[in-house]
C-alpha cells in the first residue's frame, strides 16, 4: 500500500514536470503571422526553428524550446519586451552581435516573438 502511494506520488511529480509552463503573451503579436515572417525574412538560413519550413540553419543557435530559455543572446532576461527589441535591433541588446538588423517593424517583431513563445 505504501509503495502504491509512493508510485502515485512519483508519477504525479513527473506529470507535473511535463506540464508546459504558461504561454508568454506578447501584446499585439500574432503567432501565425510571425511564423510566416520568420520564413520570409530568412531567419531559417541561420537558425533551426521548429515548425518553420526550411529553417534548418546552423550559423546561430537553434530556437527550439525558446519559451523556456532564460536569457536572450546571453545578455538579457528572456521576456517579451527584450525579445521584440532583440528581433528589431539586435545591436541595441548586444553591440557587436553577428545577427543582422533585418529591418522588421515593431509589429512584425511582436508577431515573430509571439511565434517563438509557442515553442515550449
Amino acid at each position: 500500500m505504501a509503495r502504491c502511494v509512493l508510485l502515485l506520488g512519483v508519477a504525479g511529480v513527473l506529470l507535473g514536470c511535463q506540464d508546459n509552463p504558461p504561454a508568454r503573451p506578447v501584446p499585439g503579436g500574432d503567432p501565425a503571422a510571425g511564423k510566416q515572417l520568420l520564413a520570409e525574412r530568412g531567419c531559417g538560413s541561420c537558425h533551426t526553428i521548429p515548425g518553420v519550413s526550411g529553417a534548418n540553419g546552423l550559423v546561430g543557435p537553434p530556437l527550439d524550446h525558446f519559451a523556456r530559455r532564460t536569457y536572450i543572446a546571453g545578455e538579457v532576461i528572456n521576456n517579451a519586451d527584450f525579445l521584440v527589441r532583440w528581433i528589431e535591433v539586435p545591436q541595441a541588446i548586444e553591440p557587436g552581435t553577428a545577427m543582422p538588423n533585418l529591418g522588421v517593424t515593431e509589429g512584425q517583431a511582436r508577431s515573430m516573438a509571439a511565434y517563438l513563445y509557442t515553442l515550449h
Binding site: 520570409e40 538560413s45 540553419g57 543582422p100 529591418g103
Partner: protein, 319 residues
Amino acid sequence: MSPWWQAHSALHPDGAQLSLIMDRLWSPMFAAAVAIFALVAGALGWALLRRRAAAEAPDDPALERGMRWTVSLATACTVAVLLVLLGLDISVSRATSAAPGRDALRVVVTGHQWWWEIRYGDTTSQRGVATANEIHVPVGRTVVLELRSTDVIHSVWPISLSAKMDEIPGKTNSMWLRADRPGVFRGQCAEYCGHQHAQMGFLVVAETAGSFERWLQAQREAAAPPADDLARHGQQVFLSTCALCHAVAGTPASGRAGPDLTHLAGRATIAAGTLPNTRGNLAGWILDPQAIKPGAYMPPSQLAPPDLHAVVAYLETLR
C-alpha cells in the same frame, strides 16, 4: 496568384511554344486516349455480359467470319490512330524546332553545378550582360536560348513556357520560347545533374518591351562605387574574400567560378531559386551555404560580425 496546382504547370501554358504543343499535340492525344479507353472498356463490358455464343456453337462459320472482321477492323483502327498521332507529332516537332525569325533575342544559358549563367550577346561595342538564375525576356518576342554546359548534362525547363532541352558539355543546343503575358515563371533543371539538382531553379521574368530594354541597359552598367563607410568596408571584405570566384563589374573582382554579382540586389532569389533574396538569407548563405545547399561549391566563410554586416550592406548596394 494562381492556386498551387496551376502555378508553373506544364498543363497551363504561359508561352507560345507550350500553347502550340498543348493545342496541337497534347489535347488531341489526350482526347484520343480517353475515347480509346472508353471504347475498350465498353467492349470488355459487353463481352462480359453477352451470352457465350461460342461455347454453344463452337464450329459456326458465321461466328468465325465475324471474329475475323472484328479483329481486322480493330487492327486497322489502331494503325490509323497511330499514323494520325505520328503525323501530329511530326508537324508539331517541325513547328517547335523551326528556325526563329531574325529579330529573335539571343540569350546564352550555361549550366553549372548548380546554377545558371545567363549572358546577353554583345551586339554593340557595349559590355555584354552577365547575370545568373534569372532570364528577363520581352513579352511577345521570340527568345532563342543558346544552351551550354561546363560540367555535366543539365536540362532547361521553363515549365509553363516551353518544352525542355538538354545542355550538353562540348555542344551548343538551342531552344526558343515566347511569353504571352508579363509575369515571373519558374524554371527548373530537368536532367539529374548531381547532389543539388533539385535546388537548381531559375526564373523567367517576362516584361513589356520598354521595361525589358531599361533592365538590359541597367545590367550593362558597371556597379556603382559604394557610397558610405560601411559599404566601402564591405567592398574591401568582398575583394579579399569573395572576388576569386565572383565578378562585380567595375571592380577588380572578376572570378568566373560562381555567379556574376554586379547587379545581385536586383535579383529575386539567391542560390539558383533556393532562397528569397533577403538580408537574412544573404547573411546565412554567405556564412554557411553547406547547411542550405549541401555539396554546393561555395565554401563557408568565417567572417567577424562587423565584416559580415559590411559585406551584406555592400551586396545590397549592387542594384
